[in-house]
Amino acid sequence: MLKEGSNGFRNPSGCAISGIFSKSGRRIPGDKIIKSIRIMHERSNGLGGGFAAYGIYPEFKDQFAFHIFYDHVKAKEECEAYLRNNFLIAFQSEIPTRKHPNICEAPLIWRYFAQPIEARLIEREIDEREFVSRVVTHVNTYIAGAYIFSSGKDVGVFKAVGYPEDVGEFYRLEEYSGYSWTAHGRYPTNTPGWWGGAHPFALLDYTVVHNGEISSYDANRRFIEMFGYKCSLLTDTEVITYIIDYLVRRQGLTMEETASVIAAPFWSVIARKSEEERRQLTFLRNMFAGLLITGPFSIILGFSGGIMALNDRLKLRSMVAGEKGDMAYVASEESAIRIIEPDLDRVWAPSGGEPVIFTLNGGEHKCR
């Protein structure tokens, strides 16, 4: 079986995405997002589905929550040894699943709530997030058969090969409640079938669900890899996640600024802006030229305390946003919003390149 990224295999795909967000921080059970993504069944083909949920681990909210696939026990042993060498593990368990007729060939799926060992941070002179990011890269690159697919605090990614609604049922998501949910149904144009290749893709608390096929992939990949990232899956989602991590976490850009890099306004649009805006937009486009993403995409980026939805600047993929009270919705199709909230206060199709950002209680967009 060919995994994404193995032997240079790159698998572009079409998809369905959906996101639900409570601006007041109300915790919403997981069946709602399943209902939303289910309606877009036709946009997936059963070769991958997944979810990201924020606020689901309140009891471990200060611990990094690692979700890991193991192909075999040996990998688990090797990975756990590596984790124990670097982390104080507060709790670990298999992730609860239920038997599902449409989900098969499941790997071992474990989760760990852990905190980096202080001494490891000091000896490397880095902060815990950088440390965790390096650990994730190390495990995913060097420990054969182990794959960390979720690594943020108070956030969890759940994904598998299958239709997303089946994946949701498999992971018993109705038992989780979170203030922010995103979901992804995959329609890869090739036959993979590796669980790690499903979406969302996550690093730290950044999770990305993405529908599209970016044409700038290798330009983006070769640029971002200069900064210690290793694009092992060769998927768009992976590189987008790294770009966001790089721009937001490492360069300290706000979400809007990040959007103006990856879906930069056209020069002709920049030319019409005020002097100050023009200077900044030109600066960002020039400095991060290699991070401009072209080709069709719609993404929902989840982060602690918010989500951002963004289309490519030509809006080559459908994406609709809606609001009702404290609830915000984003999905590939309006139906996926209407099915869970028929009576919306507002519904609109965001323009290409225009980020739609929702945060808890209107808080800072910036995610540190």
């Binding site: 240079g8 044409s215 290798d218 056209f266 002709s268 400095m287 993403i293």
Partner: protein, 504 residues
């Protein structure tokens, strides 16, 4: 009667049934091939002096002329080819090095032609440049490593000096002296009109062209001809020429015959003296010395202008480029071994250096491996022949390309490789006034503008086909290239997959 070992390579063929004896061929041939025979009342030719520049053919109003490769053949020998044998005769006669000009004509691999470009189908829409914006604006210059903010949290947008190009194509260095005043004017005006840059080469900047300074790269080469404060200040950027693809490792020699009063004044040397550029810069024997020159030039110009460092593509080019990227230079220029020249020893031109495609791929990868690709922009030259070559160069990782030979061809050059004789019938590589005037810059500049405009359209079409609507998304996007007819090693160096291999 001495033995004449050399038979002309090309023969003038005149269709006397079409010749109207207008004598345009005679008047236009600086090599004095054609003449009118008063007794025979017809035109006659002596092919011995013909360089196959095609001037007469192009001007003949009745198409009565053509130039044919001679069929006079030495006994066939795959090892001792006719041209090698002829070269031996020449050297046995002269005792000197063989001289030639323009780019390497030998059938060495052209990697551009072995790379094919991708296009979108179904999963990712191609983009129509006639309907959607298609951006090829390019900035050259060092990029900052970190975002910095002021006390109000605003991003500080000051950065190292940048050049803004409307097209990722510039005109490469060709000195006034090696090419004519009118050729320079054509390049300068075309660069201005196109919103790109041309390069003075090492011959200084004629005072008439200071007004095109915003679109001028002023070169500082080993001879330091024409270099002074005003010159450095005049350009938008400064290029230190360490080497040239056509003749890596050696300097230049502009014969006194080409040092006319204007050339002499511009170069700041006496009229009629040979202008000899040393092989190395005698103040640069190491990378540290280069850094000093880079910084000296920046100091001299108030840190307002990006400094380019141009090197020939040689075996160790990646490491050298890496050194330059850390020298304070803003742009690294790599010139491939198929690049042109106004004059070079034949053997050097043909056998020293490496192909630009491989050099570019290796330099770009090396700079990324070291995480310093953003420290410098990467410009390449040395036989970029078409818009497809430009697209491939950018996909391999170049920020922009230099075109020299292509620009000269647009001006009329037929690659007769006789620049060194100074008798360019197209008014390009000559200083003889009656020949120089043959290149009307009003025409020449428009032809250059047309060429680059046409290439821009083609680049945009190809980008659109790939689903890319901004050149930066093409830069280094090697997934967009596939190889054909290449070995594993070549593919590895180029960093591309073979055509038909699965997506990667």
């Amino acid at each position: 009667m001495p033995i004449n070992y050399i038979y002309p390579d090309y023969e003038v063929v005149r269709d006397s049934s079409r010749c109207i004896t207008c004598r345009a061929c005679e008047r236009q041939c600086a090599n004095e091939v054609h003449s009118y025979d008063l007794e025979l009342k017809c035109m006659v030719s002596d092919s011995m002096n013909c360089v196959d520049c095609q001037r007469c053919v192009s001007l003949c109003p009745t198409r009565a002329l053509k130039i044919e490769k001679t069929t006079n053949t030495f006994k066939e020998n795959a090892n001792w080819t006719q041209s090698l044998i002829t070269d031996v005769y020449r050297q046995a006669e002269s005792g000197g090095m063989l001289s030639t000009s323009m780019g390497n004509p030998n059938p060495l691999p052209v990697y551009w032609d072995r790379m094919l470009i991708n296009a979108s189908q179904v999963t990712n829409p191609s983009i129509d440049p006639l309907r959607e914006p298609m951006e090829i604006k390019t900035f050259l210059g060092r990029k900052p490593e970190k975002i910095r903010r002021d006390e109000n949290g605003r991003i500080i947008t000051e950065m190292s000096p940048q050049l803004e190009l409307n097209v990722p194509i510039m005109f490469s260095a060709m000195s006034f002296g090696s090419i004519s005043y009118n050729a320079h004017e054509s390049l300068a005006r075309a660069a201005t009109k196109l919103g790109t840059l041309y390069n003075t080469g090492e011959g200084g900047l004629h005072q008439d062209f200071y007004k095109y300074g915003k679109n001028t790269i002023v070169q500082v080469a080993s001879g330091r001809f024409g270099v002074h404060k005003g010159y450095l200040d005049a350009g938008a950027a400064i290029e230190i020429k360490m080497g040239q693809g056509a003749k890596p490792g050696i300097g230049g020699h502009l014969p006194g015959a080409k040092i006319t009063a204007e050339v002499a004044r511009t170069r700041m040397i006496p009229e009629g003296t040979d202008a000899i550029s040393p092989a190395p810069h005698h103040d640069i024997y190491s990378i540290e010395d280069l850094r000093q020159l880079v910084l000296s030039l920046k100091e001299a110009t108030g840190y307002k202008k990006p400094v380019f460092v141009k090197i020939a593509a040689v075996h160790n080019v990646a490491a050298i480029a890496s050194g330059i990227a850390r020298s304070g230079a803003d742009v690294v220029v790599i010139d491939g071994f198929r690049g042109g020249t106004g004059s070079a020893p034949t053997r050097l031109r043909d056998f020293v250096g490496i192909p630009i495609e491989l050099a570019l791929a290796s330099v770009d990868q090396r700079l990324r491996d070291e995480g310093i690709r953003n420290n410098v922009s990467l410009v390449i030259g040395g036989s970029v022949r078409s818009s497809a070559d430009v697209v491939k160069a950018i996909a391999l990782g170049a920020d922009a390309v230099y075109i020299g030979t292509g620009a000269l061809i647009a001006l009329g050059c037929h690659l007769c490789r006789s620049c060194h004789t100074g008798k360019c019938n197209w008014g390009i590589a000559t200083q003889r006034p009656e020949l120089v005037k043959r290149l009307n810059p009003n025409v020449g500049y428009q032809r250059l503008v047309n060429l680059v405009t046409a290439w821009s359209h083609e680049i945009k079409e190809m980008m659109g086909g790939m689903g890319i609507n901004s050149i930066e998304a093409l830069r280094g996007n090697r997934l967009m290239l596939r190889g054909v007819g290449l070995t594993e090693t070549e593919l590895r160096v180029l960093g591309i997959k073979y055509a038909g291999e699965i997506w990667s």
